[in-house]
Protein backbone atom coordinates (compact mmCIF):
# COMPACT_ATOMS: atom_id res chain seq x y z
CA UNK A 1 0.00 0.00 0.00
CA UNK A 2 1.43 3.35 -0.94
CA UNK A 3 1.46 6.45 1.21
CA UNK A 4 -1.35 8.31 -0.59
CA UNK A 5 -3.65 5.30 -0.51
CA UNK A 6 -2.98 4.79 3.19
CA UNK A 7 -3.79 8.42 3.90
CA UNK A 8 -7.09 8.11 1.99
CA UNK A 9 -8.04 5.08 4.06
CA UNK A 10 -7.46 6.60 7.47
CA UNK A 11 -10.41 5.68 9.73
CA UNK A 12 -12.94 8.27 10.97
CA UNK A 13 -13.65 8.62 14.67
CA UNK A 14 -16.79 9.66 16.53
CA UNK A 15 -16.57 12.68 18.83
CA UNK A 16 -18.07 12.44 22.32
CA UNK A 17 -21.88 12.20 22.15
CA UNK A 18 -22.53 15.43 24.04
CA UNK A 19 -20.08 17.52 22.00
CA UNK A 20 -22.77 19.48 20.16
CA UNK A 21 -24.51 20.31 23.45
CA UNK A 22 -21.23 21.67 24.76
CA UNK A 23 -20.60 23.73 21.63
CA UNK A 24 -24.17 25.02 21.74
CA UNK A 25 -23.84 25.97 25.42
CA UNK A 26 -20.58 27.83 24.70
CA UNK A 27 -22.14 29.71 21.78
CA UNK A 28 -25.13 30.75 23.86
CA UNK A 29 -22.85 31.80 26.74
CA UNK A 30 -20.71 33.88 24.35
CA UNK A 31 -23.83 35.55 22.93
CA UNK A 32 -24.91 36.47 26.47
CA UNK A 33 -21.43 37.83 27.24
CA UNK A 34 -21.39 39.85 24.01
CA UNK A 35 -24.78 41.37 24.86
CA UNK A 36 -23.62 42.30 28.36
CA UNK A 37 -20.39 43.84 26.94
CA UNK A 38 -22.52 46.63 25.44
CA UNK A 39 -23.93 47.34 28.85
CA UNK A 40 -20.75 47.57 30.96
CA UNK A 41 -20.88 50.28 33.61
CA UNK A 42 -18.63 53.36 33.53
CA UNK A 43 -16.86 54.70 36.59
CA UNK A 44 -15.87 58.12 37.88
CA UNK A 45 -12.29 59.00 38.75
CA UNK A 46 -11.47 60.76 42.05
CA UNK A 47 -13.27 64.06 42.52
CA UNK A 48 -9.97 66.01 42.63
CA UNK A 49 -8.55 64.36 39.48
CA UNK A 50 -8.69 67.58 37.46
CA UNK A 51 -6.95 69.61 40.19
CA UNK A 52 -4.14 67.05 40.24
CA UNK A 53 -3.75 67.22 36.47
CA UNK A 54 -3.87 71.03 36.43
CA UNK A 55 -1.19 71.09 39.15
CA UNK A 56 1.03 68.81 37.08
CA UNK A 57 0.57 70.93 33.97
CA UNK A 58 1.71 74.04 35.82
CA UNK A 59 5.07 72.45 36.64
CA UNK A 60 7.80 73.21 34.10
CA UNK A 61 8.66 70.31 31.82
CA UNK A 62 12.23 69.10 32.16
CA UNK A 63 13.04 66.91 29.21
CA UNK A 64 16.18 64.88 29.58
CA UNK A 65 18.21 64.74 26.39
CA UNK A 66 19.13 61.12 27.06
CA UNK A 67 15.50 60.18 26.66
CA UNK A 68 15.64 61.00 22.98
CA UNK A 69 19.13 59.71 22.30
CA UNK A 70 18.09 56.44 24.01
CA UNK A 71 15.14 56.11 21.67
CA UNK A 72 17.25 56.51 18.57
CA UNK A 73 20.03 54.34 19.93
CA UNK A 74 17.57 51.57 20.77
CA UNK A 75 15.81 51.85 17.46
CA UNK A 76 19.13 51.95 15.69
CA UNK A 77 20.17 48.68 17.28
CA UNK A 78 17.94 46.73 14.98
CA UNK A 79 16.31 49.00 12.44
CA UNK A 80 16.73 47.33 9.14
CA UNK A 81 17.60 49.52 6.23
CA UNK A 82 17.26 48.46 2.67
CA UNK A 83 19.30 49.50 -0.28
CA UNK A 84 18.11 48.95 -3.80
CA UNK A 85 20.16 49.50 -6.87
CA UNK A 86 18.36 49.49 -10.17
CA UNK A 87 20.48 49.08 -13.28
CA UNK A 88 18.78 49.43 -16.63
CA UNK A 89 21.21 48.83 -19.49
CA UNK A 90 20.11 50.64 -22.64
CA UNK A 91 20.84 47.62 -24.85
CA UNK A 92 18.12 45.31 -23.53
CA UNK A 93 15.20 45.24 -21.10
CA UNK A 94 16.98 43.24 -18.41
CA UNK A 95 16.68 44.75 -14.98
CA UNK A 96 19.16 43.92 -12.27
CA UNK A 97 18.19 44.46 -8.68
CA UNK A 98 20.69 44.33 -5.93
CA UNK A 99 18.97 44.01 -2.60
CA UNK A 100 20.61 44.38 0.74
CA UNK A 101 19.25 44.41 4.26
CA UNK A 102 21.58 45.68 6.89
CA UNK A 103 21.28 45.73 10.66
CA UNK A 104 22.56 49.07 11.81
CA UNK A 105 24.47 48.74 15.03
CA UNK A 106 25.92 52.16 15.49
CA UNK A 107 23.98 54.98 17.07
CA UNK A 108 21.90 56.82 14.54
CA UNK A 109 21.85 60.56 14.42
CA UNK A 110 18.71 62.56 13.86
CA UNK A 111 19.58 62.68 10.15
CA UNK A 112 19.03 58.93 9.89
CA UNK A 113 15.27 59.26 9.93
CA UNK A 114 14.99 61.25 6.69
CA UNK A 115 17.59 58.93 5.13
CA UNK A 116 15.41 55.95 5.89
CA UNK A 117 12.32 57.72 4.57
CA UNK A 118 14.20 58.47 1.37
CA UNK A 119 15.06 54.76 1.01
CA UNK A 120 11.42 53.84 1.64
CA UNK A 121 10.23 56.33 -0.95
CA UNK A 122 12.73 55.01 -3.48
CA UNK A 123 11.46 51.46 -3.02
CA UNK A 124 7.82 52.54 -3.16
CA UNK A 125 8.55 54.39 -6.38
CA UNK A 126 10.27 51.33 -7.81
CA UNK A 127 7.30 49.08 -6.95
CA UNK A 128 4.86 51.59 -8.47
CA UNK A 129 6.94 51.83 -11.64
CA UNK A 130 7.23 48.07 -11.95
CA UNK A 131 3.48 47.68 -11.46
CA UNK A 132 2.81 50.30 -14.12
CA UNK A 133 4.95 48.32 -16.55
CA UNK A 134 3.99 44.81 -15.50
CA UNK A 135 0.27 45.07 -14.90
CA UNK A 136 -0.24 41.30 -15.20
CA UNK A 137 2.26 40.50 -12.48
CA UNK A 138 0.76 43.12 -10.20
CA UNK A 139 -2.68 41.56 -10.59
CA UNK A 140 -1.40 38.30 -9.10
CA UNK A 141 -3.09 37.58 -5.76
CA UNK A 142 0.24 37.17 -3.94
CA UNK A 143 1.47 40.56 -5.18
CA UNK A 144 -1.82 42.23 -4.22
CA UNK A 145 -1.63 40.58 -0.82
CA UNK A 146 1.99 41.67 -0.29
CA UNK A 147 1.20 45.24 -1.34
CA UNK A 148 -1.77 45.32 1.02
CA UNK A 149 0.39 43.93 3.82
CA UNK A 150 3.04 46.56 3.10
CA UNK A 151 0.44 49.34 3.27
CA UNK A 152 -0.87 47.96 6.55
CA UNK A 153 2.65 47.80 7.98
CA UNK A 154 3.28 51.37 6.85
CA UNK A 155 0.15 52.52 8.69
CA UNK A 156 1.24 50.62 11.79
CA UNK A 157 4.69 52.18 11.51
CA UNK A 158 3.16 55.67 11.39
CA UNK A 159 0.96 54.89 14.40
CA UNK A 160 3.93 53.68 16.45
CA UNK A 161 5.95 56.75 15.44
CA UNK A 162 3.06 58.88 16.67
CA UNK A 163 3.04 57.08 20.02
CA UNK A 164 6.82 57.40 20.28
CA UNK A 165 6.36 61.15 20.23
CA UNK A 166 4.38 60.80 23.45
CA UNK A 167 6.18 57.87 25.10
CA UNK A 168 9.71 58.57 23.93
CA UNK A 169 11.47 55.79 25.81
CA UNK A 170 8.82 53.10 26.06
CA UNK A 171 10.72 49.81 25.45
CA UNK A 172 7.57 48.02 24.23
CA UNK A 173 7.05 50.73 21.61
CA UNK A 174 10.67 50.65 20.50
CA UNK A 175 10.44 46.86 20.16
CA UNK A 176 7.20 47.17 18.21
CA UNK A 177 8.86 49.68 15.89
CA UNK A 178 11.80 47.32 15.29
CA UNK A 179 9.46 44.39 14.63
CA UNK A 180 7.43 46.39 12.12
CA UNK A 181 10.59 47.63 10.35
CA UNK A 182 11.89 44.06 10.08
CA UNK A 183 8.57 42.82 8.73
CA UNK A 184 8.41 45.69 6.22
CA UNK A 185 11.91 44.87 5.02
CA UNK A 186 10.93 41.20 4.50
CA UNK A 187 7.69 42.02 2.67
CA UNK A 188 9.45 44.60 0.50
CA UNK A 189 12.21 42.13 -0.34
CA UNK A 190 9.64 39.54 -1.40
CA UNK A 191 7.74 42.09 -3.51
CA UNK A 192 10.91 43.21 -5.25
CA UNK A 193 11.86 39.58 -5.85
CA UNK A 194 8.51 38.76 -7.50
CA UNK A 195 8.47 41.93 -9.57
CA UNK A 196 11.92 41.29 -10.96
CA UNK A 197 11.56 37.60 -11.87
Amino acid sequence: MNWTKALQQLPEHEPRPDLWDRIDADLRADATIDRALDDLPVFDPKADAWEQIAGQLEKPVVRALWKYSFRWAAAAAAVVTGAWLVVRPASDEKVTISYQTEVVETELTVASEPLQSAADQKVERFIDEQCAQQTVVCQKPEVKELKQHLNELSSRKEAVEQELLVFGNDPALVQAQIKIENERAEVTKELVRILTI
Binding site: A36, F43, P45, A49, V166, D170, A172
Partner: protein
Protein backbone atom coordinates in the same frame (compact mmCIF):
# COMPACT_ATOMS: atom_id res chain seq x y z
CA UNK B 1 -10.64 75.97 30.13
CA UNK B 2 -10.62 73.97 26.90
CA UNK B 3 -8.40 71.40 28.57
CA UNK B 4 -10.84 71.07 31.45
CA UNK B 5 -13.71 70.55 29.01
CA UNK B 6 -11.77 67.87 27.17
CA UNK B 7 -10.99 66.12 30.44
CA UNK B 8 -14.61 66.29 31.58
CA UNK B 9 -15.77 64.86 28.28
CA UNK B 10 -13.51 61.82 28.36
CA UNK B 11 -12.75 61.21 32.05
CA UNK B 12 -15.39 58.55 32.79
CA UNK B 13 -14.77 56.45 29.70
CA UNK B 14 -10.99 56.67 30.13
CA UNK B 15 -11.05 55.98 33.84
CA UNK B 16 -13.23 52.92 33.21
CA UNK B 17 -10.67 51.60 30.69
CA UNK B 18 -7.81 52.08 33.16
CA UNK B 19 -9.78 50.55 36.01
CA UNK B 20 -10.71 47.46 34.01
CA UNK B 21 -7.11 46.91 32.96
CA UNK B 22 -5.60 47.47 36.40
CA UNK B 23 -8.43 46.40 38.71
CA UNK B 24 -7.14 48.90 41.28
CA UNK B 25 -8.73 52.28 41.98
CA UNK B 26 -5.58 54.12 43.04
CA UNK B 27 -3.50 52.83 40.17
CA UNK B 28 -6.29 53.63 37.72
CA UNK B 29 -6.53 57.21 39.05
CA UNK B 30 -2.75 57.59 38.76
CA UNK B 31 -2.82 56.23 35.21
CA UNK B 32 -5.61 58.63 34.25
CA UNK B 33 -3.76 61.59 35.72
CA UNK B 34 -0.45 60.74 34.02
CA UNK B 35 -2.22 60.03 30.76
CA UNK B 36 -4.06 63.36 30.63
CA UNK B 37 -0.88 65.25 31.51
CA UNK B 38 0.76 63.51 28.52
CA UNK B 39 -2.29 64.25 26.36
CA UNK B 40 -2.16 67.98 27.09
CA UNK B 41 1.61 68.18 26.72
CA UNK B 42 1.50 66.43 23.34
CA UNK B 43 -1.79 67.66 21.94
CA UNK B 44 0.10 69.48 19.19
CA UNK B 45 1.50 66.15 17.96
CA UNK B 46 -1.99 64.72 17.38
CA UNK B 47 -2.19 64.34 13.62
CA UNK B 48 -5.85 63.37 13.16
CA UNK B 49 -4.91 59.89 11.95
CA UNK B 50 -7.53 58.58 14.37
CA UNK B 51 -10.27 60.22 16.39
CA UNK B 52 -9.15 62.30 19.34
CA UNK B 53 -10.91 59.84 21.67
CA UNK B 54 -9.01 56.89 20.19
CA UNK B 55 -5.72 58.78 20.53
CA UNK B 56 -6.42 59.65 24.16
CA UNK B 57 -7.51 56.07 24.85
CA UNK B 58 -4.25 54.68 23.50
CA UNK B 59 -2.32 56.98 25.83
CA UNK B 60 -4.50 55.95 28.79
CA UNK B 61 -4.04 52.26 27.94
CA UNK B 62 -0.27 52.65 27.70
CA UNK B 63 -0.13 54.49 31.01
CA UNK B 64 -2.30 51.81 32.62
CA UNK B 65 -0.05 49.05 31.31
CA UNK B 66 2.96 50.91 32.69
CA UNK B 67 1.36 51.03 36.14
CA UNK B 68 1.48 47.27 36.38
CA UNK B 69 4.63 46.99 38.45
CA UNK B 70 5.40 43.34 37.74
CA UNK B 71 5.50 41.56 34.39
CA UNK B 72 2.08 40.56 33.11
CA UNK B 73 1.52 36.92 33.92
CA UNK B 74 -0.33 34.85 31.35
CA UNK B 75 -1.88 31.70 32.75
CA UNK B 76 -2.80 28.84 30.46
CA UNK B 77 -5.90 26.74 30.40
CA UNK B 78 -6.18 23.89 32.88
CA UNK B 79 -6.91 20.65 31.01
CA UNK B 80 -9.59 19.77 33.58
CA UNK B 81 -11.53 22.75 32.34
CA UNK B 82 -12.73 20.91 29.24
CA UNK B 83 -14.75 18.52 31.34
CA UNK B 84 -17.01 21.14 32.80
CA UNK B 85 -19.90 22.10 30.53
CA UNK B 86 -21.53 25.39 31.57
CA UNK B 87 -24.89 27.14 31.25
CA UNK B 88 -24.79 30.92 31.50
CA UNK B 89 -28.12 32.56 32.47
CA UNK B 90 -29.18 35.03 29.77
CA UNK B 91 -30.14 37.56 32.44
CA UNK B 92 -26.49 38.53 32.97
CA UNK B 93 -26.14 42.34 33.18
CA UNK B 94 -23.21 44.59 32.37
CA UNK B 95 -22.52 45.10 36.07
CA UNK B 96 -22.34 41.35 36.68
CA UNK B 97 -20.08 40.87 33.67
CA UNK B 98 -17.89 43.74 34.89
CA UNK B 99 -17.42 42.02 38.25
CA UNK B 100 -16.56 38.77 36.48
CA UNK B 101 -14.04 40.53 34.22
CA UNK B 102 -12.39 42.08 37.24
CA UNK B 103 -11.99 38.66 38.84
CA UNK B 104 -9.95 37.36 35.88
CA UNK B 105 -6.20 36.78 36.24
CA UNK B 106 -4.21 39.95 35.38
CA UNK B 107 -2.89 38.94 31.96
CA UNK B 108 -6.13 37.43 30.68
CA UNK B 109 -8.11 40.40 32.00
CA UNK B 110 -5.87 42.98 30.32
CA UNK B 111 -5.96 41.18 26.97
CA UNK B 112 -9.72 40.54 27.16
CA UNK B 113 -10.45 44.18 27.99
CA UNK B 114 -8.20 45.46 25.20
CA UNK B 115 -9.59 43.04 22.59
CA UNK B 116 -13.24 42.56 23.48
CA UNK B 117 -14.17 45.75 25.32
CA UNK B 118 -11.90 48.32 23.68
CA UNK B 119 -11.70 46.72 20.23
CA UNK B 120 -7.94 46.64 19.73
CA UNK B 121 -6.60 44.20 17.15
CA UNK B 122 -4.42 41.32 18.27
CA UNK B 123 -1.31 42.73 16.60
CA UNK B 124 -1.86 46.00 18.49
CA UNK B 125 -2.28 44.18 21.80
CA UNK B 126 0.79 42.07 21.07
CA UNK B 127 2.82 45.25 20.56
CA UNK B 128 1.44 46.91 23.68
CA UNK B 129 2.11 43.96 25.98
CA UNK B 130 5.20 42.67 24.18
CA UNK B 131 3.62 39.26 23.58
CA UNK B 132 2.91 37.30 20.41
CA UNK B 133 -0.38 37.62 18.53
CA UNK B 134 -0.95 33.93 19.32
CA UNK B 135 -0.70 34.61 23.04
CA UNK B 136 -3.12 37.49 22.69
CA UNK B 137 -5.66 35.26 20.92
CA UNK B 138 -5.27 32.37 23.34
CA UNK B 139 -5.64 34.69 26.34
CA UNK B 140 -8.95 36.01 24.97
CA UNK B 141 -10.12 32.43 24.55
CA UNK B 142 -8.92 31.58 28.06
CA UNK B 143 -10.68 34.64 29.49
CA UNK B 144 -13.94 33.67 27.76
CA UNK B 145 -13.76 30.17 29.18
CA UNK B 146 -13.18 31.55 32.68
CA UNK B 147 -15.99 34.06 32.24
CA UNK B 148 -18.43 31.36 31.10
CA UNK B 149 -17.60 29.36 34.20
CA UNK B 150 -17.85 32.34 36.57
CA UNK B 151 -21.09 33.55 35.02
CA UNK B 152 -22.62 30.07 35.10
CA UNK B 153 -22.30 30.21 38.88
CA UNK B 154 -24.28 33.46 38.99
CA UNK B 155 -27.87 33.09 40.09
Amino acid sequence: MAQRLLFERYKRAMFSVALRILNDNDHANDALQDAFVEVFRHLDSFRFQSTLGAWIKTIVVRQALRKQQLEWRFETLDEQFHDQPVEVPDTITGAVLDAAIRSLPDGARAVFVLAEVEGYKHHEIAAMLNISEGTSKSQVSYARKLLRKKLSEFR
